[in-house]
C-alpha cells in the first residue's frame, strides 16, 4: 500500500470533528506526528487477521 500522507488541511478538519482546537503554529508538527501514526496503523491493518481474533482488554464485570 502507498504511504499515508497527512496534510495540514487534514489535521484541521479532523481536529474540528473531534473538537480539539490546535494552534495554527502546531498544525505542521501534528500533521507529521499523525502521519507517523497512520503509517504505523497501516502496517498493522494490512496484516490479515481472522474474525475470531479478539482483543484482550482487561474488563471483569
Amino acid at each position: 500500500m502507498a504511504p499515508v500522507r497527512v496534510t495540514e488541511a487534514d489535521v484541521e478538519r479532523l481536529a474540528a470533528v473531534v473538537g480539539v482546537p490546535i494552534h495554527p503554529a502546531e498544525i505542521p508538527a501534528v500533521a507529521t506526528a499523525l502521519g507517523v501514526l497512520l503509517n504505523a496503523a497501516q502496517l498493522v491493518s494490512e496484516f490479515p487477521l481472522s474474525d475470531d481474533v479478539e482483543a484482550a482488554p482487561v474488563f471483569r464485570p
Partner: protein
C-alpha cells in the same frame, strides 16, 4: 557502607547488624545528591529532613531488636509519576504541578518502605512518560553520568541516571514501550520490566494503561531481585494486577542455568541498529554458549501497533487538557498527544486485536525456548538536543522514537525483560535484553546472575 558503590543488600545487612546507621547512610546519599545532582538533574524533589527522620525510625527498630526489613536503611527514589504521600505527583508535567499533594504512597512505594527502604525523593522523566530521552522542557534535561552531553534515555531517565551515578542504589521507574530498559541500557545499569500485571500500578500516573508496567533499577542482579521481590504481587486496587502466586526471585540468583534453552533473536533484532549496538549481544551469547537463533513473528508490526495504542490511550487520558490548555504541554509531547487524539477508533481496535494474535504466536515460541536474547537499544545514548531524524542501517528514522525499536515489540505483549549492561572498551554503555515468557522472571535472574558472575555484565558507578 555509606559510599556511592555500596550495594543495597550490603547496606541492609550492615544496618541490621548495627555496623552503620540508616541515618548515616541516608545522610551520605543526601550529600552525594547535593554534590552531583546540580549537574545531573536526576531529582525533581529531595525529601531531606523527612528522609533522615524516616531513617532514624529504622534505626530505632534495629536498636529495639525488631526486624527492620530486608532493605533496612536502603536509600531509594522513584520516577515522579509515583504517588508519594505529601508530595504532588508531577508525571514530568507542569499541568499536574497544580494538583494537591498525594494523600498516600503508590503501592510499590509503600512496599519498599515496608521492606525498610528509605525514600529519598522523586526523579525526572519525559512528560507523561512519552519519550526516550528525558529532555524535559519544564524540569530540564537529565544528563547521562557516563557523558553529561548525552541523554540518560527515557522516560525513566532520572531513575536510571541516579542509580548509575551512585546517588541511590535502587530506584523505580515505569515502562510502556521501553522506558525502563532504554535508560538502563544508556546508563549502563540493570533494569527489569516485569510481566504486565505482576507489579501494581496503583498510585502511578498512567500513560497507556494497556501497556504500562512498573519495575526497578539497580547496579547488581541481587539488588534488582531484592527490589523486585519487595514490590511484586497482587493488588486489588490495580485492575490489571495479577493474582498469580508470588515467586521470589532472590533465591534464583546464583542457580545453575544448565538446561535452559536460550536463543538469540534475529531478523528485526539483528538490523535497524548500529553495528556496535548489535555487537553487544555477542559477548553475552558467547558466554552463555548460545548457538540457537529465533525470529519473532512480525515484530515491526507489533511495534507499530504499540505506537498506535500508546498515542490513542495517552491522548484520551489527557484529552481535556489537550482541548483546554495544549500550550502547557511540553513541546516534545504536545504534537504526538494531539495526533493521538485524531486516530480513528477502528485503527486502535485493530492494533488491540493484532496484539492478541501476536501474543499467541510468541507464546508458541516459548514452548521451545526459555530465554531470548536481543539488543536493548539501536545505539548508544544520543546527544542532548540531537536532530529529529537520524540514519541507521541505511534508513532514515525519527531518532527519538527509534530508541524503542527493540523494546516495543516485547512490552507490547507484557513479556518480562531484564536489560543487562554491556561495556565495550572505548564505547558508552549498551544493553542486552533477556526475555522470557510471562511470569518467568526467575529464569531471567538466573541468566543475568550467571553473566554478572562471569564478568560479562557489570554496572560500576559512573
Amino acid at each position: 557502607m555509606t559510599g556511592a558503590d555500596a550495594s543495597a543488600l550490603a547496606i541492609a545487612a550492615a544496618v541490621r547488624a548495627r555496623r552503620v546507621t540508616a541515618r548515616e547512610v541516608t545522610a551520605a546519599a543526601l550529600e552525594r545528591i547535593a554534590q552531583r545532582d546540580p549537574a545531573l538533574n536526576c531529582f525533581t524533589h529531595v525529601r531531606g529532613a523527612a528522609a533522615l527522620d524516616e531513617a532514624a525510625r529504622i534505626d530505632e527498630r534495629v536498636a529495639a531488636g525488631q526486624d527492620a526489613g530486608p532493605l533496612a536503611g536502603v536509600p531509594f527514589a522513584v520516577k515522579n509519576l509515583f504517588d508519594i504521600a505529601g508530595v504532588t505527583t508531577l508525571a514530568g508535567s507542569m499541568i499536574f504541578a497544580e494538583r494537591p499533594p498525594a494523600t498516600r504512597d503508590a503501592t510499590a512505594v509503600a512496599a519498599l518502605r515496608r521492606a525498610g527502604a528509605v525514600l529519598i525523593g522523586a526523579l525526572n522523566m519525559d512528560e507523561f512518560a512519552f519519550g526516550f530521552t528525558c529532555e524535559n522542557a519544564h524540569h530540564g534535561p537529565t544528563r547521562n553520568p557516563h557523558d553529561p552531553s548525552r541523554v540518560p534515555g527515557g522516560s525513566s531517565g532520572g531513575s536510571a541516571a541516579a542509580v548509575a551515578a551512585g546517588l541511590v542504589p535502587i530506584t523505580l521507574g515505569s515502562d510502556t514501550n521501553g522506558s525502563i530498559r532504554v535508560p538502563a541500557a544508556f546508563c549502563g545499569i540493570f533494569g527489569l520490566k516485569p510481566t504486565y500485571g505482576r507489579v501494581s500500578r496503583a498510585g502511578v500516573a498512567l500513560f497507556a494503561g494497556s501497556l504500562d508496567h512498573v519495575g526497578p533499577f539497580a547496579r547488581s542482579v541481587s539488588d534488582l531481585a531484592a527490589a523486585y521481590d519487595a514490590i511484586q504481587g497482587p493488588d486489588p486496587t490495580d485492575p490489571v494486577c495479577s493474582d498469580a502466586p508470588v515467586v521470589p526471585c532472590a533465591p534464583h540468583v546464583g542457580r545453575e542455568i544448565e538446561g535452559l534453552r536460550l536463543a538469540v533473536a534475529v531478523g528485526h533484532f539483528a538490523r535497524n541498529a548500529t553495528a556496535e549496538a548489535l555487537a553487544a549481544v555477542t559477548p553475552v551469547a558467547r558466554a552463555l554458549r548460545v548457538t540457537r537463533h529465533i525470529e519473532l513473528p512480525e515484530p515491526h508490526r507489533a511495534r507499530a501497533a504499540a505506537m498506535v495504542i500508546t498515542a490513542a490511550e495517552g491522548a484520551n487520558l489527557h484529552l481535556a487538557d489537550l482541548k483546554s490548555r495544549a500550550k502547557d504541554f511540553d513541546p516534545t509531547t504536545r504534537d504526538r498527544f494531539l495526533a493521538g487524539a485524531l486516530v480513528p477508533a477502528s485503527l486502535y481496535a485493530q492494533a488491540q486485536r493484532f496484539r492478541a494474535w501476536y501474543r499467541a504466536r510468541v507464546a508458541e515460541m516459548f514452548q521451545e525456548i526459555d530465554v531470548i536474547i536481543a539488543p536493548t537499544t539501536p545505539w548508544v545514548a544520543p546527544l542532548i538536543g540531537a536532530p529529529r531524524l537520524a540514519t541507521v542501517d541505511g534508513a532514515e528514522v525519527v531518532a527519538r522514537a527509534h530508541s524503542g525499536v527493540f523494546t516495543q515489540p516485547l512490552s507490547f505483549i507484557g513479556l518480562p525483560v531484564i536489560s543487562v549492561p554491556v561495556r565495550v572498551p572505548g564505547l558508552l554503555p549498551l544493553g542486552v535484553q533477556l526475555i522470557a515468557a510471562p511470569f518467568r522472571e526467575p529464569v531471567l535472574f538466573r541468566v543475568a546472575a550467571r553473566l554478572e558472575a562471569d564478568g560479562i555484565v557489570a554496572a560500576p558507578v559512573a
